[in-house]
Symmetry: C2
Subunit: 406 residues, 2 copies
Amino acid sequence: MRIAVLGGDGFVGWPTVLHLSEAGHEVHIIDNLSRRWIDTELGVQSLTPMDSVQERCRIWHELTGRRIRFHLIDLARDYEIFKAWLTEHRPEAIIHFAEQRAAPYSMKTDRHKVYTVNNNVNATHNVLAAMVETGIDAHLVHLGTMGVYGYSTIGAAIPEGYLPVDIAKLDGEKVEQEILYPTRPGSVYHMTKSLDQILFQFYAQNDGLRITDLHQGIVWGTHTAQTRRHAQLINRFDYDGDYGTVLNRFLIQAAIGYPLTVHGTGGQTRAFIHVQDSVRCIELALGDAPERGDRVKIFNQMTETHRVRDLAEMIAGMTGAKVAYLPNPRKEAAENDLIVKNDQFLALGLDPTTLAEGLLEEVVEVAKKFAHRVDRSRVPAVSGWTRELGSRVERDPEGKALREVG
Amino acid sequence: MRIAVLGGDGFVGWPTVLHLSEAGHEVHIIDNLSRRWIDTELGVQSLTPMDSVQERCRIWHELTGRRIRFHLIDLARDYEIFKAWLTEHRPEAIIHFAEQRAAPYSMKTDRHKVYTVNNNVNATHNVLAAMVETGIDAHLVHLGTMGVYGYSTIGAAIPEGYLPVDIAKLDGEKVEQEILYPTRPGSVYHMTKSLDQILFQFYAQNDGLRITDLHQGIVWGTHTAQTRRHAQLINRFDYDGDYGTVLNRFLIQAAIGYPLTVHGTGGQTRAFIHVQDSVRCIELALGDAPERGDRVKIFNQMTETHRVRDLAEMIAGMTGAKVAYLPNPRKEAAENDLIVKNDQFLALGLDPTTLAEGLLEEVVEVAKKFAHRVDRSRVPAVSGWTRELGSRVERDPEGKALREVG
Ligand SMILES: NC(=O)c1ccc[n+]([C@@H]2O[C@H](COP(=O)([O-])OP(=O)(O)OC[C@H]3O[C@@H](n4cnc5c(N)ncnc54)[C@H](O)[C@@H]3O)[C@@H](O)[C@H]2O)c1
Ligand SMILES: NC(=O)c1ccc[n+]([C@@H]2O[C@H](COP(=O)([O-])OP(=O)(O)OC[C@H]3O[C@@H](n4cnc5c(N)ncnc54)[C@H](O)[C@@H]3O)[C@@H](O)[C@H]2O)c1
């Protein structure tokens, strides 16, 4: 298949590109490299030393004889360029990772909010409009997030996108209908994924586009079968306060002998998936495309849930690190349950790597191995979620003010 | 009160500005005049001769001694300028009309789709982000549309924004919850209003912004008490295939002796409100602001519903015009019922002008009076809703091809 991977230079995009190239597909990366620019803006870098996308593609070619083509296009701004690209290359599938994906970054300042909405909504809408305009019948696979469900105020298990509800008709009789799960995003970033959902619903209904939306949990892990093949194919590993997920931050804290900082009670439950499984899920979703005229197909792309404090204890147990509790900068419920359905991927044959099995490798092969590269000033960073919270001061585990935040 | 009217040069914005100025408020118009530019793009003009916004404000001042200030700002592009404006003027209320509002225009070409999404989402989000950033505790009143509800597939009366549904919890017990009505927008324009809803939900919840969203029906009528006071204060009247509502188009067809063209069976039911009532509703909503921390307050701003063919017959009855049935360019159900709740405005004292009472004045005072200004080539125009429909040919009532469409 000819596949366009939008955002193929990113953390999940890059291993997906390699996996699909190895599987024999003709893979094209479209990326504006904004993520690398944001590293520069924030003055941070991947823990793992990361080469340019051009160099990575060259090494892959040297190693395997396969070509991955890279096209520098800003999907949010260069509508006409992307349309021309589509017309020329006519991909059979398009995988769309190309959005600003950090919740803390999206809440940093008004400029970051405006950027995130503008970038993500326009990128997604431009892709849809260009697909309709060029008449390309590609299967669009989008990476969404579990965060569109928001805090599970409903007390029901989280279904795969659509929730059955009973609605009273005019005569009082109740009828069951499946509706898009009522969204309650908790950050501007998550909100943009809720907006994406409405865009997809419209274009599937009005123009018959074939769309799969993957509501993904937090991706952890660094290596896949392909990234392991050469030091310079290694995936990025973010641990700063904006892009570093809670798990990566624990790993780094443990590696440098800093306490694992848990916000609030650590009672928030989060959904997780290993990057190798994420890549595999995308392949499974590609092979299970909806038909023209179908509603958007939604999968929950996650394999297990954990409370944040349990994760911290797990890593503390493996490494001997201490756990420290700090106030929560996010505006969210202190404790939440999260019961998530993921039957569809299991039915398609997904065999997950669990945290319990895979985490030690991350500790040893990644966090400890590259610990000398850690920028310690990045370890306690955090963005405030509202103006009041934003002006709070971040404190270290002993209560000493580390720096003003927001 | 100091009130900013975003999009105050538009069809509903202008009479709102005059109404609020007359009521003693300090009114500021913020507009990028894009609607006038679109007239130029399409080569169309208002049936009623319309002066520049500066000239209109000057005449109002001459007549009443009151000042209306005009500020040329593009809300979608000039975030920093708008933020500086807010900081300087600190309005107590912001009324937000500033979006591209024609469904056919939003579906014309991919360029128009991209423009509409970009303009509307960024305008709304920039307003919200700037309100949070400047810490202005203004009440935001937004003009939404009945179109966010979409085709009433549910078979229930359309509530005011929130729908009560029963949801099965984990243990099987069903609990009632109110959710945002599951949106099913029928055009890119309507879709942007669905996106706005999610933006409002987030900013009300995360930042405590006080927001009212008015889901408005089709606005008809030209005059209000204030626009009548001087020939040069007259409101705009659109009748072209993009901006002209179904009712305005019937009025013009009748005025020039053309048959009233009904698309499909004319069985689509639409909700209507007179512009004088629309202006009054906005004033009522201003006086009924939600509290900080409340969810978004949603009103249905409409006063009656009619099937399109019944409207045609009503106008045919008043004018002697014929009715002609043509294929429908929109992708929508041929016949639909529409039962809409609007209890909240009635409870606040709204006393509606009905079509049956007010329509004759439109026929005589507007359509016939300015019939000499009608551009006849604009009467049959239509935008295709999908690529297939878009390439259809528009036919006159006798079946003669009038022009290629799309
Ligand atoms: N990493 C996770 O834990 C996780 C969890 C859930 C969902 N997701 C989703 O998966 C997708 C990929 O995540 P990731 O971790 O790889 O993110 P990433 O930031 O590492 O990668 C995103 C890539 O998209 C590119 N991009 C952004 N805007 C673009 C634009 N306008 N035009 C072209 N390219 C653009 C960036 O340069 C970057 O290379 C995202 O959409 C994200 O929301 C990720
Ligand atoms: N007219 C109707 O029948 C109707 C029905 C339902 C809802 N509405 C809603 O009411 C609002 C007003 O409708 P209208 O008929 O007066 O529309 P209009 O097009 O006449 O007025 C909109 C005004 O907003 C301005 N504008 C657009 N984008 C802007 C931007 N980025 N920055 C600054 N100004 C901008 C335009 O120049 C114009 O003056 C719209 O939001 C519309 O969706 C209208």
